[in-house]
Symmetry: C2
Subunit: 435 residues, 2 copies
């Protein structure tokens, strides 16, 4: 058996502990696949005296990052999260000739380019399967499994917290507030849930998927991002009556004039594969020229799935280390100098059907006015639904449009919301008629 | 840009033509990912004068295999099918120092071991993504994406023809014969459909999946294989009433005393992800220790999906060729000398719920006798369904059992089928209560 692959671990929270558990529990399988063992030699923690999981060897703990970086290791694994000191430590690790595995999507979405340049200069690799889709090997699949194809579009349910909440609202009729409280009670949502429910976490992941699918860097802040807090239990109920389910979707599509990117709650047909992804599960549907649709499904978060992706990455690097090679694949899948230049597309150009819920005081001529303004903006109506009103109360008028341009829809909504009989800002959700 | 990867193609039928089309149509994407082009330099065909797709360059055609094998190539791609001369040509190619890509599941299932030994001796690679699951990158995922985990079980819908037929029977109430005629008319089934509907194609694929998931070689002939021809439209209707759908499933599970392997039409809950895989689509659900369930879904056959997998394999080899390396992964995922020995498990030990359809003449005491014999064999009844009988005609009695041992069920059926009131051999189908 050849030399063990030696690893330094930066961080030992949930994912770090999971990595140590997998290395211990699956040691036999890993050795049989890699041909050698993986040994963690040093672990950076904030407090070396804290009581930890039995899988964490106390003798390896240190609170001094230099002890990890200066150790005799092949690979540095970063599972501490946050921008700093993670960024500085990984740049240091690369300059010392260590390879890097990271699960840190926020770091990659903001400082990925800097890390990858440093890695190329040092002839070392940075890989990051755990950064998107938890345990689903989606990064590896897009970089290698789909390497021969032209990717047209991808649709991801890549935030488990949001999907859990929308599933609870759909299956149990819960309100948004109750679904959030439930998610927090189960540990699926943070005390401040903004990153998840606001779509920011999904936008960071989408920016990584776009880079490796289309060869284009989009800052996650530039992705049109809308949270699931705009969805009510009523919207989910109305969507059902049209045959749809509401899912937190990250969407990217390649067009001749640029790449369309957006994150928002979306109506998709309930009977599809993606419409059947419930609870904390994640899935990514990829549509490409030769392959057609392919879908990858699994647990998008959690200690063990995420840790598994980290260990798979260590194994991949181990295979390169055994052969003394690096840079086998470009970090972001493409040799950028060989990619035709592309830009992000103006989101107002997005075309899809829309779900519109108007809250109106039921006066004569209301429907005529709404449909008139929609018509003036080139928006035609596919289906409509109106509930009976209680005297004096606002009543929802729900319209499903044919394919329309986002810019026109937003303009029409602005015009309609200025009318006297409109009781509150109109809710709009996009529709994706996936097969 | 570095030297092009040069390829010799053995065979230019549907998949071979697809390979040439992808290399032409996706040339830009492939170059941007691999950093160099892939050039086909010679193509073996039976008849060089036959009229072919415009993507096939006539100048490269030859009917002499030596012209391909002796050409200055890095990779030989085998898409001719069958055992010979494919086997002999690939052994020759390896001895000349060429790497090999093959889509030939039958060849691998029968002669894989011989090819892999020859490849190891020649320090060359044989890869085979297209052999299972058409366009779904399932081989790559099992070999690399799940490399850090212990796989417990896999469930595959890996024969598109059978799934198309059972879907047609389920959705349109077609008979088996009509569904087969429809599949043949669309080109999904051969004139002799035995390989597909009999489960042999799926058993060959399952033997490959078992090798790379569990490190165990099982000859496909030793896998308990039952065809979908035993399923009637009535069975599908009854299954629906129990909340199930009938799917052509390949199943493998690891137990302490061996690996269970089987291919047969199976009742699975209709509302699950795997139960939502319809038509010619394929999917593989893998259950492993850390990851939990993951599912991969896509087109399991067809010119372009299968050809895409072949080209992805050429790209993978191209990355190794650029670095002058080979043997990065063991062909069948494991270093066999490091795998704990395992055997196939006696199929009679399989435990699952069973669907039983008895065709009986409705006499007093029939149910008591059937349930008595089941009880004597330790089989308990979960649900039962009986349709009203026409005088003189046999009537179906349908029973869903709790989990039972296959050996006991087969023994009980033999005892029941010997009774006077039983009009025809009892139909039994296995049930998998997947989540």
């Amino acid at each position: 058996m050849s030399e063990a692959i030696r690893v330094g671990l930066l961080g030992c929270g949930t994912v770090g502990t999971g990595v140590l558990r997998i290395l211990a529990e699956n040691r036999e399988e890993i050795v049989a696949r890699l041909g050698t063992a993986i040994e963690v030699v040093k672990i950076l923690v904030r407090d070396a005296d804290k009581v930890r999981d039995p899988a964490v060897p106390r003798s390896l703990l240190t609170s001094d990052p230099r002890e990890v970086l200066e150790a005799d290791v092949h690979v540095i694994v970063e599972v501490m999260g946050g921008y700093e000191p993670a960024r500085a430590l990984l740049l240091d690790a690369l300059s010392r000739g260590h390879h890097v595995v990271t699960a840190n999507k926020a770091l990659l979405a903001r400082h990925g380019a800097e890390l990858f340049v440093a890695a190329d200069e040092a002839h070392r690799d940075v890989i990051f399967e755990a950064s998107v889709g938890g345990g689903i090997p989606i990064i590896r699949t897009l970089r290698e499994g789909l390497a021969a194809d032209r990717i047209h579009a991808l649709y991801g349910i890549i935030n488990g917290t949001s999907n859990f909440m929308l599933t609870a609202m759909s299956d149990q009729g819960k309100s948004y507030a109750d679904a959030l409280a439930d998610a927090q009670a189960r540990g699926y949502a943070e005390a401040d849930p903004t990153m998840d429910v606001g779509g920011i976490d999904a936008a960071q992941k989408l920016s990584i998927l776009i880079a490796i699918s289309f060869g284009l860097d989009i800052a996650f802040e530039d992705i049109r991002t809308e949270g699931i807090d705009r969805v009510t239990a009523d919207d989910i109920r109305f969507a059902k009556r049209f045959g749809y389910t509401v899912k937190p979707l990250a969407v990217a599509k390649a067009h001749a004039d640029g790449v369309e990117a957006r994150v928002h709650p979306t109506l998709i047909p309930a009977s599809t594969m993606l419409g059947s992804v419930h609870g904390v599960f994640n899935a990514v549907l990829v549509s490409s020229r030769a392959l057609g649709p392919v879908l990858f499904y699994g647990q998008g978060a959690g200690m063990m799935p995420t840790a598994h992706s980290v260990v798979s990455d260590i194994i991949e690097l181990g295979r390169n280390i055994q052969r003394g090679t690096s840079g086998r694949l470009p970090h972001l899948a493409f040799h950028r100098e060989l990619v035709a230049e592309r830009a992000q597309r103006d989101p107002r150009l997005t075309r899809c059907p829309f779900y519109l819920r108007f809250e109106v005081h039921d006066e004569p001529g209301v429907l005529a006015k709404i449909s008139g303004i929609l018509g003036d903006h080139g928006i035609s109506i596919r289906q409509m639904l109106q509930e009976t009103s209680q005297p004096g109360e606002a009543v929802p008028v729900v319209i499903l449009t044919h394919v329309a341009q986002e810019g026109a829809v937003l303009d029409a909504i602005a015009a309609i919301d200025a009318l006297d009989f409109v009781a509150e800002p109109t809710c709009y959700l996009r529709v994706e008629d996936l097969a």
